[in-house]
């Protein structure tokens, strides 16, 4: 698929209105899924669906952005763009999963956090920052997969994990192509050029070492065969989670820290920066 499509065609594929969403995957992977609501502070964010269910014989926490397919559903789900309450719900449930030893799966599909006045008033920056910081402390396996759009800090707030995977025709970017064009050209109409330069395809991210695995989609894209796409996702998630379940908790958290601490070392950064500096050496 990715061989023949332009970068912009891939962006359109990642945003395809018939692309399987979190709900389409979770109904196939976790048939007894029980949704849990609310951040216990003020609200429930419908842009993030979260809950528990039986996955390969054990209870797991699944959460993900839900974009909505009809206009009324999209309005309700806010196109998968979370408010602060969504990040707070995610962390509340991550702590709960840690309490009971449930592995966590995050399926990311968002253009970004909601760029609105209310989100700012209720502390969206600190909500995302707090989530990113908290994920490093959750002592159970965490695996994230970008299933459609992975946009900016809003996506990263759900994707600080032990393994990060991408569906083949999904994108993951520092900012949406429109936002990046608006920043560097002051003109969001330059979105195609921005997308081409940003290196946001699954192949790019795999090459950079930002994701561990790209999950092949049915030919024609995930939207042509939900069952096949869900099977591929399920197998890849299981492959990622299983070895993590065996791992010592302290080691798991140490490796999660190192995954991000040295994430840029694969692309030649190590030779530019010199070798890793140990905490002990820093203290001296």
């Amino acid at each position: 698929m990715t061989d023949t499509l332009s970068v912009w065609q891939l962006v359109e594929m990642a945003r395809h209105q018939d692309r399987p969403y979190f709900g389409d995957y979770v109904s196939r992977l976790v048939p007894d899924f029980v949704e849990l609501h609310g951040d216990r502070l003020s609200a429930d964010d419908p842009a993030l669906v979260a809950g528990i269910g039986t996955w390969h014989g054990r209870t797991a926490l699944f959460m993900g952005n839900q974009k909505g397919r009809t206009l009324s559903e999209r309005l309700h789900r806010n196109w998968g763009m979370m408010h602060p309450e969504g990040y707070r719900k995610a962390i509340r449930l991550a702590h709960q999963a840690a309490k009971f030893g449930f592995p966590i799966v995050c399926l990311v599909d968002t253009p970004g956090a909601y760029p609105g006045a209310g989100a700012e008033e209720r502390g969206i920056a600190a909500a995302i920052a707090g989530a990113i910081m908290e994920w490093f402390t959750i002592p159970v396996p965490v695996v994230a997969c970008i299933i459609g759009e992975g946009g900016s800090g809003g996506a990263l707030g759900l994707a600080v994990a032990d393994r990060v995977l991408m569906m083949e025709n999904s994108i993951y970017s520092v900012a949406s192509p429109e936002a990046a064009a608006s920043i560097v050209w002051r003109d969001n109409a330059r979105k195609v050029e921005a997308a081409e330069q940003l290196q946001i395809t699954s192949r790019d991210l795999l090459a950079m070492g930002v994701v561990e695995e790209v999950i092949p989609e049915p030919s024609g894209g995930a939207h042509t065969d939900y069952d096949a796409a869900a099977r591929a996702l399920d197998e890849a998630l299981l492959r990622a989670v299983q070895p993590l379940l065996e791992e010592d908790t302290q080691l798991l958290l140490e490796r999660r820290y190192e995954r991000y601490r040295y994430i840029d070392s694969l692309i030649g950064a190590a030779e530019h920066f010199g070798p890793k500096v140990s905490a002990k050496a820093l203290a001296e």
Binding site: P115, G116, G123, A125, I128, A129, M133, S152, E193, I267
Partner: protein, 223 residues
């Protein structure tokens, strides 16, 4: 105000010891339009600027402190791989030694020209901030104009004490983008330091002229 001016204002004279100034940005994505990233880096270097974050050890009122200071003049103070690396090393060093960490921010967010690797710096630095907290080392953050995007959504608001400069614009999404996206009329003072104080995001708003004295007092209280 540039990083050099902040250091002159906050650090005891002659106490600044810069670290890791030799690590330099590279055009890893081969970014060409509208301006080649290489040329942007070179132009900033010719102006004597050394990346968007400088880090090192200093004394403030005779107490040692690790400093991470953003410089908005370097590609808008954007968080890059080098900036993230310097911040993470400083935070780790502070955590290992128990020497308090002082951050001064001025940033438009993550650096577009480094793509998703710039986004990954949010996780890199917040992981290190988490370890700083676990080590029970004091962390103070001074938010100056402007502090947005990937910097407000990573370490800027995660300190023990968040201090904003009067009138500084602080937020996640810039007002221009919010207006474009939502067609909303934004109230006067939206995203100002005072707005963030009212909305519970910062502990205090302190003018530049009183900042050093306030930091010396805080270093004393959190000793």
């Amino acid at each position: 105000m540039g990083a050099d001016a902040w250091l002159a204002l906050l650090a005891d004279p002659g106490s600044w010891q810069e670290r890791w100034s030799d690590i330099r940005p590279h055009d890893l994505l081969d970014w060409k339009r509208p301006k080649p990233y290489e040329d942007m880096i070179e132009a900033a270097r010719e102006e004597g600027l050394n990346e968007a974050v400088r880090t090192g050890l200093a004394r403030i009122g005779e107490r040692p402190a690790w400093l991470g200071v953003f410089d908005f003049r370097f590609v808008g103070g954007t968080l890059s791989i080098v900036a993230g690396e310097r911040l993470a090393r400083g935070l780790e060093a502070a955590a290992a030694s128990g020497v308090p960490y002082l951050l001064v921010t001025a940033s438009g967010g993550a650096r577009m020209q480094e793509g998703v690797l710039a986004l990954m710096q949010l996780a890199k630095v917040n992981g290190a901030v988490g370890r700083l907290h676990v080590s029970r080392t004091p962390f103070f953050s001074v938010l100056t104009d402007p502090t947005f995007g990937g910097v407000s959504a990573s370490l800027a608001l995660m300190a023990d004490v968040n201090i904003a400069e009067p009138g500084a614009a602080i937020g996640f999404t810039g007002a221009r983008v919010i207006k474009q996206a939502t067609y909303a009329d934004l109230p006067k003072g939206f995203q100002s330091a005072e707005f963030q104080l009212t909305h519970g995001q910062v502990d205090m708003v302190v003018p530049r002229t009183e900042l050093r004295r306030r930091l010396i007092h805080l270093l004393e209280l959190y000793r």
